[in-house]
Amino acid sequence: MSEQLLQVRNLSVSVEDKPILHGIDLEVRPGETHVLMGPNGAGKSTLGYTIMGSPRYEVTGGEILFKGKQLLEETTDQRAKDGIFLSFQNPLEVPGVSLRNFIRNAVEQRSGSRIKLWTFKKELEKAMEVLQMDPSYGDRDLNVGFSGGEKKKAEILQLLMLKPSLAILDETDSGLDVDAVRTVSKGVEEYQKDKKGALLIITHSTRILESLHVDKTHVLVNGKIVASGDASLVDEINEHGFERFLEA
């Protein structure tokens, strides 16, 4: 496939008048896995939130195209319907709304039609099994009282159910123990296997990448992409850290 899924062109972003990203270029094709690495505070999450359309982030220059369409004018929910998914580092707690009902609502919004309760239930159970989640989680209020690991699993569960064409995973592996990382990785593999969905993985560690096929790696430092390469770049950073890029 040659057409681009996501095109970020010369993108600059500010938060509360403070410039964070300076002229980012990034292209992702359908089904590809990209890794965005960089030290803390480099602006990695800013890129994810900007693609998703958070009102906190002000685009001061450049453009984003998704499936060839200008994205910046679209509301966040429209972007989600177009097929973008962002897993949050700290998923918000929404009291009174059950995880199951929420996902069903979101799936229906995405597809634009009602989904049969039975079909939905089956599919949700299957996805929860992949993630080793107890079905009772479906009855619990969205993210309320979830542990860090449970929140991350609930995010991946939504990824599997919503089947986006681009998933941005923001520090999905941070704060998880080895087993939890393995489970989350399994979920991510499942997502790619089924749908040929593209991935943009934002991380400052590399644990989640061990089981994934990485197509491209980008290094973000001080709001700029200072290096891009293939999967071997991940290994290099694993060994030497970001120092080489910081000096540059």
Binding site: G53, R56, T75, V97, N101, N105, R110, D141, Q158, L162
Partner: protein
């Protein structure tokens, strides 16, 4: 369908609440309030002598008492303009087929007969000042449960019981509008549940005020005897008129030893209504009163269901939600008096203010010296949906025993932008995201209601949230 499915319903059409029926051949007493008018009501209703007298005494008290100097303004309410008694041109019936077409049609649209068939043990339907329908399932009646209109109770087998309890818990001196109620009350229900009887499906009374410029003053008296259980549901609505309507009902609940009563209300009066309602429960040893209260309608509300915990180990729970939109000033809350040892009260309320609406949470928790080892926990949360609205929290506590455990927490805030963004990132529109968060906020009440009512409540919230994004 599981209970959790309740968010999946079609939006209601506000217009069903707004059905206005033309007044046909009704008996309408003249406007205002004089001894002659009160006597005329007595005569029309065939009051026993004590009641005729009681009305006149109440009227005198009404004339002596001042309007409250706290709470929302009731300046727009002129008693001289209120018609206290409007009798629909029909007799009370136990068959819907005998209820006049237009009235039946209104209740059909409000879903009352349907609900009765599906999930209720008995239904009373009041239209303006009188009940037009009253029926209770045979098997419930066979258990000895009495569910009748107040007028029949007053002259029937239970006349003594009624007389012994009527306005003893809420005496006319309680406040000006209690006195008004004592003078002009009409309609309402009497329920008696004998000892040990558990009524497993709820009874419901629905109050509909159709006549413009009228008042509705129904009296509900429920006695749940020792070890018995009852769930009573009350629904209220009215079409909107340009003139003020008044609702000054009175609810007196007597919960016997180890008995339990759940009293649920979804109030959706039209926004020209002054809702000055008084509700009170007296709970004996080991008994429980549970209030579930949703306040959505009316122009001005003063509503504070009160629990008097009079016996050892008595218990009160209050779960409430108030949603104040444009033009509404809803002053709601609860009162609890701990008057015996080891009594407990749990109060959990939510309030929402939107479009210039004012919502006030007002409460009092009194723990008397006689209430050692009592426990009370109050939690109230308020949500401000814009900066045109107002939300006040006025909780009072008066604790007079050392050996009590009293906790209180109040929070006020707004819908978090991050939460809205999070939901939108999953493809949910901003309007839906906000409605979803507000419905979730109201979850404390909706999960306490039977499914149909939870659905209705969520619909009301969705309706209020429509077009809430500027």
């Amino acid at each position: 369908m599981s209970e959790r499915e309740k968010t999946y319903v079609e939006d209601v059409n506000r217009s069903i609440y707004d059905i206005r029926n033309e007044e046909k051949d009704v008996y309408r007493i003249q406007k205002g309030l004089t001894p002659a008018i009160v006597e005329e009501i007595s005569a029309k209703k065939n009051d026993p002598a004590w009641m005729a007298n009681f009305r006149l005494q109440s009227l005198q008290i009404y004339n002596e008492m001042e309007v409250p100097d706290w709470g929302p303004s009731i300046e727009g309410l002129n008693m001289e303009d209120i018609v206290t008694y409007v009798k629909p041109n029909t007799h009370m019936s136990a068959k819907w087929s005998e209820v006049p077409e237009d009235i039946k049609d209104t209740f059909e649209k409000l879903g009352i007969p349907q609900a009765e068939r599906k999930s209720l043990a008995g239904v009373g339907a009041q239209y303006d000042s009188e009940l037009v329908y009253h029926n209770v399932r045979e098997e419930v009646a066979a258990q000895g449960v009495v569910y009748t209109d107040m007028e029949s109770a007053l002259n029937g087998e239970y006349a003594d019981m009624v007389r012994k309890h009527f306005m003893k818990l809420v005496p006319p001196r309680d406040h000006k509008f209690a006195a008004l109620h004592g003078a002009v009350w009409s309609g309402g229900s009497f329920v008696y549940v004998p000892p040990g009887v558990s009524v497993t499906i709820p009874l419901q009374s629905y109050f509909r005020l159709n006549a413009p410029g009228a008042g509705q003053f129904e009296h509900t008296l429920i006695i749940v005897d020792e070890g018995a259980y009852l769930h009573f549901i009350e629904g209220c609505s009215a079409p909107k008129y340009n003139v003020a309507n008044l609702h000054a009902g009175c609810v007196e609940l007597f919960v016997g030893k180890n008995a339990k009563l759940r009293y649920s209300t979804i109030e959706n009066w039209s926004k020209n209504m002054y809702n000055l309602n008084t509700k009170r429960a007296l709970v004996e040893e080991g008994g429980t009163i549970e209030w579930v209260s949703g306040s959505f309608g009316s122009h001005v509300s003063y509503l504070y269901p009160m629990s008097v915990l009079n016996g050892k180990g008595a218990r009160a729970e209050f779960t409430g939600i108030t949603f104040a939109g444009a033009g509404q000033n809803l002053d709601t809350g609860t009162k609890v008096v701990h008057n015996a040892p080891e009594t407990t009260s749990y109060i959990n309320t939510k309030s929402i203010s939107k479009d210039g609406g004012i919502s006030t949470f007002r409460s009092s928790v009194v723990v008397k010296n006689s209430a050692a080892k009592s426990k009370s926990a109050v939690s109230c949360q308020s949500l401000m949906l814009d900066d045109k609205s107002r939300s006040d929290t006025i909780p009072a506590m008066d604790i007079r025993t050392q050996d009590a455990d009293i906790g209180h927490e109040a929070k006020i805030g707004r819908i978090s932008d991050e939460a809205v963004f999070y939901l939108m990132s999953r493809g949910i529109s901003e309007e839906d995201a906000r409605a979803m968060i507000v419905s979730g906020f109201a979850d404390n009440v909706s999960k306490e209601l039977p499914l149909e009512y939870a659905v209705e409540m969520n619909n009301l919230i969705r309706l209020e949230m429509k077009g809430s994004i500027g």
